[in-house]
């Protein structure tokens, strides 16, 4: 069964600010990544660049593209910083990995089952 772990943290305007806000060190992330990769459960994973680099696209009803290149992101309580897709037997196993993830201490980790309905 595949689950996506979405790692959220408080919004930061730069990598430096993000680091200042977090309680976990870079080495904690390295260690966690080694563990989860070593367990052979990771299907995919990526870390995302900070929110100042994000671009939002919407298409209106009459087909017009609306592109937003910067904020305001400060109103978001938490932003997605990265994800893992893992393949484990059940939700308990997925929750266990989520709890061990440094992202659960710096912000929160949302666990979403990947559906096979589509």
């Amino acid at each position: 069964m595949k689950y996506m772990l979405l790692m959220n943290s408080a919004p930061a305007d730069s990598a430096e600010e993000a680091e200042a806000q977090s309680v976990c060190e870079f080495s904690d992330w390295m260690k966690f990544d080694e563990q989860i990769q070593g367990a052979g459960v990771v299907v995919a994973s990526h870390a995302l660049a900070d929110m100042t680099t994000a671009t939002k696209v919407r298409v209106t009803a009459d087909g017009e593209r609306v592109i937003t290149t910067d904020g305001p992101f400060a109103e978001a309580r938490e932003v997605l910083g990265g994800y893992y897709v893992i393949d484990v037997p059940d939700l308990d196993a997925a929750l266990d990995w989520a709890a061990r993830c440094p992202g659960a201490r710096d912000g929160s980790v949302v666990v979403r089952p990947v559906t096979d309905e589509y």
């Binding site: 037997p89 059940d90 939700l91 308990d92």
Partner: protein, 411 residues
């Protein structure tokens, strides 16, 4: 012709067997929906066969065989469903290998894993209670709806949604390992206790009795966990007062108004033994401590000779284990009995800022009682009026109304 006795005995067996059957089927097929469907089919078949041909020597075995046959039929008709379940089964085996099958032909008791699934932290609190009542107490959806005082359709939707969540998020059917148990067991105990308090607050014995039954099952399934003894002791020692705590007007009676000769001595004896077991051989848990408090009330001939210093001491222990404004409120009421209303009122007023107590009628009622004992009648009446507006059940409302009337009459 089968008489009504045969029918009644058949239904009594189902009450007991349904949870066992369902849990065994969930273990076998890894799917709650299929298990529920074929359990109902098997019970229906039994309702036709047993009154006519007699109850078979192994009712559980008969039900399980019949249910399994129905499940095989169902899976033969629906290949996609069968394939999906087969995958589920392989993965479930990967997570928790099945124990070897029992040799005595009776149903193995698989209910513990169902308890943990129904009370899984990934389910909403109200869904945990509803699923536990349905899957383990064997209540029908309309019965569960009545327990929650919501329309059947609302409850049916809630149960479907909760089962969907179990299936789609794959909440496992498994008993947590020894390392996880301390974190997971309180959730299961909490579900059973909340069913009890729901029934107790509304003076609904049927619901309270379901909780007692569930607490007994848990105690049997986890005999080494002292808090299962604590929970069972607590509900027994509280339930023992059921016949004395409702007056002729349908309102609740205060502890000092209850006819203690009507307290159930058998339950009290059983509860005391369990409370002792809960508090022996290790650090106390919150249910064991609350059971000890209930036991002190049950043992006292009246309110005046109750061991209030000991009760205050136990509330101190409880507050250290599970600090909460509600525990602080109960402690304050006990202090008022030990040291006088003034001391109790000072503690209660210190809790005035607690958000959790603001809409909680026992807080207002406790203040009203102490103000009355201090002769501050207008303030007491005001506090009773506040409590009256916050009551959640009719039985509580009748009590507070009566106390308010008495204060107003003497003021």
């Amino acid at each position: 012709m089968p008489g009504p006795d045969a029918r009644a005995s058949v239904e009594a067996i189902f009450r007991e067997e349904r949870g066992l059957l369902l849990a065994a089927l969930v273990r076998r097929f890894g799917d709650l929906d299929l298990a529920e469907e074929v359990a109902s089919d098997a019970i229906e078949a039994a309702l036709v066969h047993w009154p006519a041909h007699g109850v078979p020597p192994s009712p559980g075995g008969w039900l399980m065989t019949t249910a399994r046959r129905k499940a095989v039929d169902r899976l033969r008709r629906d290949r996609a469903y069968a394939a999906r379940l087969a995958v589920l089964q392989v993965e479930a085996e990967r997570a928790a290998p099945a124990p070897p099958p029992g040799t005595d032909g009776g149903l193995p008791d698989e209910r513990l894993q169902l308890f943990f699934t129904c009370a899984h932290p990934a389910l909403a609190a109200e869904d945990r209670t509803a699923l536990t009542l349905r899957c383990l107490a064997g209540l029908t959806t309309p019965e569960v709806a009545r327990a929650f005082l919501v329309p059947t359709a609302t409850m049916a939707k809630r149960i479907v949604r909760a089962k969907h969540r179990i299936r789609e998020a794959r909440i496992p059917f498994r008993v947590p390992g020894p390392d996880e148990l301390p974190a997971r067991l309180p959730g299961v105990l909490q579900v059973v206790y909340s069913i009890f308090t729901e029934g107790y607050a509304a003076a609904r014995h049927d619901l309270a009795e379901e909780a007692v039954r569930l607490a007994r099952i848990l105690r049997r399934l986890l005999p080494d966990e002292r808090e299962t003894a604590g929970l069972l002791a607590l509900v027994l020692l509280t339930h023992a007062r059921r016949d004395a705590r409702v007056g002729a007007d349908g309102g609740l009676l205060l502890l000092d108004e209850q006819d203690r000769s009507r307290w159930d001595r058998t339950l009290i004896e059983e509860g005391r033994g369990l409370a002792e077991a809960a508090l022996t051989g290790g650090p106390p848990g919150p249910y064991g401590v609350q059971a000890a408090i209930a036991a002190l009330h049950d043992e006292a001939p009246d309110v005046a000779s109750t061991d209030w210093p000991q009760i205050v001491a136990l509330y101190d222990v409880l507050h250290a284990l599970t600090p909460s404004p509600v525990v602080a409120l109960n402690r304050a009421a006990a202090v008022a009995m030990r040291d006088g209303p003034e001391a109790g009122l000072a503690l209660l007023d210190g809790l005035a800022g607690e958000p959790r107590l603001r809409g909680y009628h026992p807080y207002a009622a406790a203040r009203a009682d102490l103000l009355r004992r201090l002769g501050r009648l207008p303030e007491s009446a005001a506090a009773y009026r506040e409590a009256l507006g916050l009551c959640e059940t009719a039985a509580e409302r009748v009590l507070i109304r009566r106390l308010l009337d008495a204060v107003e009459a003497s003021g």
